[in-house]
């Protein structure tokens, strides 16, 4: 029977069927400091071990400071959570890329760059943006702490089989320097809605997806969860195989693996998806979110919508849009390019990889951040930071008055000192514009790295197509 890529990965990882649910083997488990402490407590209480410490990898990213790492951590509660992860990894024999490691970084940035993430595998982490790893043709999903404990103890997870949802991005982008992967995924979420993918695994396909680099595919898969899907994936191809060659954990028999992946890891021609959505890449413009969920997004050439117009007869959507505009302090009809910003954050597991920083730097080079804007770049990992510094990107950003920080989740979710003040408005390359996400009362506009960079220079949003 013809199968989709996801169904093939699912079937090859089935351990057992239990009362209609499936026990799925987990190939890789990524662990970070925030969603793991109670799971390790649970293991200790029940005198259990970690079943496969060799398939488990830990780092600290959510609440680490992004300032000078040679200084002690000021926030004692954060310091305790970080120390707890160190102790847990030591006790249970789990490899840890700690604060002093050259491989430390956001868990979804380091997995791929270290070659831990591989095509055809199953990957979990106590973090909803685990969907990122799907860019390599893996089934990767975020789990809660109870499930983290379950995977630590058994290397398996009990799951209901999700449905399949094809997201086809046909054609080519009109200006692939200005219209980025971030604009593609925001355009998709705008159409399918924040719950459109509930209960499904997305498979991104089509010409415009094949054209993307791995860094760009990760941006797309990363935000699958923002469309309600726990996982999203892209079939591996030569771009994938080239990316993973020669990385720290890339398997020794890599060429043999590639041959078998080429034959197996694709959706069969006549396979059926449960749902399909098609979008034309040539119609996609740079995006700016105006509301308080990622579906509340518009083309940069548009204005803040009238709630009634946005809701199209759905009264609860209309209320949501009204509330969002009140929170965001925006008036319907205001051109998005008139919105003045206070802060710029280039970072997060969505957009803090090398390509993101190269693209943002190309906008920033030779220009200065607007005097009313405070802007920062937080590389996704120490490796990204080092590579960027080799290319002198740090100098470009610093000369323009951007702050150049150490790697971590930073202002994406406001767990460390990098937060917005009440009322501050931020152009952010992160993934969620929820109320208070970047700090209580903070206002988030989701954009691509080049859109954020251009906004930093001018102090308001601009159509970056006019710049590149």
């Amino acid at each position: 029977m013809a199968k989709t890529l996801f169904e093939k990965i699912w079937d090859s990882h089935k351990v057992d069927e239990i009362e209609g649910r499936t026990l799925i083997y987990i190939d890789r488990h990524m662990v970070h400091e925030v969603t793991s402490p109670q799971a390790f407590d649970g293991l200790r209480i029940n005198k259990r071990k970690v079943r496969r410490p060799d398939l488990t990898f830990a780092t600290m990213d959510h609440n680490v400071p992004t300032t000078n790492r040679s200084l002690p951590i000021v926030d004692q509660i954060s310091a305790t959570q970080i120390k707890t992860l160190e102790k847990n990894c030591q006790e249970f024999g789990i490899p840890l890329f700690g604060l002093d490691s050259p491989y430390q970084g956001i868990v979804h940035v380091i997995g791929p760059e270290l070659g831990i993430t591989l095509p055809g595998t199953t990957i979990v982490c106590g973090d909803s943006h685990t969907s990122t790893h799907g860019a390599f043709g893996a089934f990767a999903l975020g789990i809660g702490t109870s499930d983290v404990e379950h995977v630590l103890a058994t290397q398996c997870l009990v799951l209901d089989k999700p449905k399949t949802f094809e997201i086809r991005v046909d054609g080519k982008r009109k200006n692939s320097h200005a219209v980025t992967a971030k604009d593609i995924i925001l355009s998709i979420i705008k159409k399918i809605g924040t719950a459109g993918g509930n209960g499904t695994v997305l498979e991104y396909r089509g010409q415009a997806i094949s054209d993307l680099s791995m860094d760009e595919r990760m941006t797309i898969c990363n935000m699958s969860i923002e469309g309600g899907a726990r996982a999203g994936l892209v079939a591996p191809d030569q771009t994938t195989f080239d990316y993973l060659r020669g990385r720290k954990y890339t398997p020794k028999n890599y060429d043999d693996l590639i041959e078998s992946w080429k034959n197996t890891l694709k959706t069969d021609d006549n396979a059926k998806f449960d749902k399909s959505f098609i979008i034309d890449a040539s119609q996609i413009a740079p995006q700016v979110s105006w509301g308080t969920n990622p579906a509340m997004t518009a083309d940069v050439t548009e204005s803040v919508p009238e709630p009634a117009e946005y809701a199209r007869g759905d009264s609860s959507q209309e209320t949501a849009a009204k509330n969002a505009l009140a929170y965001m302090d925006l008036k319907p009809g205001t051109p998005l390019t008139d919105i003045q910003i206070d802060r710029v954050f280039i970072g997060s597991c969505t957009n803090a990889r090398l390509q993101d920083l190269i693209e943002a730097a190309s906008i920033v080079k030779g220009r200065k951040v607007s005097p009313k804007v405070k802007a920062m770049v937080v590389p996704g990992s120490q490796q990204v930071k080092m590579e960027a510094e080799k290319m002198d990107l740090d100098k470009i950003f610093k000369e323009a008055n951007f702050e150049w920080r150490e790697s971590g989740c930073s202002m994406c979710l406001g767990m460390n000192p990098d937060i917005l003040s009440r009322g501050e408005r931020c152009a952010s390359t992160s993934n969620r514009n929820f109320e208070g996400r970047q700090g209580a009362g903070g206002r988030t506009h989701l954009v691509s790295p080049i859109m954020a960079a251009a906004a930093a220079i001018t102090g308001h949003f601009v159509d970056v197509r006019e710049w590149v």
């Binding site: 954060s78 305790t80 909803s128 379950h150 509930n198 979710l413 406001g414 208070g436």
Partner: protein, 160 residues
């Protein structure tokens, strides 16, 4: 019987349910003090044990933080009644044995009012609104979810 605390909102996300800055806390009671702080800083003091939170579509979207159902449950919330749930929140609520994620149709959601006293019977899949003397149907849990709930969570559940 429990009282209803209702928010007429869709997409109540995990950053509203428990803002990121409190994910550093290890103690569940401390986490509970900040439940729903994103939209209702007084939430914690309003809840009595056995109360129900009622909201619209896609409740719990966003992060995989189990702190979200923990914060609500630790305050005393017995169940969340919503038109639909984001999947990770739903799963966390069930697997950890924290609270009942109860799905109802739009009409029922509209009928249940803030402050109403209700009783939920997961045996008959009925919600009784004592204040308004009405009875509503809830969407039945799948067989396996019902078994995990009655066991008190995934770790306490043993397959037949």
């Amino acid at each position: 019987m429990g009282k209803v605390i209702k928010y007429e909102k869709d997409n109540i996300d995990t950053d509203v349910i428990i803002p990121g800055q409190y994910l550093k806390l290890h103690d569940y009671d401390e986490i509970a003090k900040h439940a729903m702080e994103g939209i209702d800083p007084d939430f914690h003091s309003k809840v009595q044990k056995g109360d129900f939170l009622v909201a619209g579509r896609n409740f719990g979207c966003g992060s995989s933080r189990e702190h979200a159902p923990i914060a609500l449950s630790q305050c005393g919330i017995k169940g969340v009644i919503a038109v639909s749930f984001a999947r990770i929140f739903y799963r966390n609520a069930v697997d950890g044995g924290f609270l009942l994620p109860i799905e109802v149709d739009e009409e029922t959601y509209k009928k249940i009012g803030n402050g109403d006293q209700i009783e939920v019977d997961i045996g008959t899949n009925q919600i009784k609104n004592v204040t308004k003397n009405q009875t509503y149907a809830m969407k039945p849990f799948s067989e396996i979810v019902a078994k995990i709930i009655s066991a008190g969570g995934l770790f306490k559940y043993k397959p037949d």
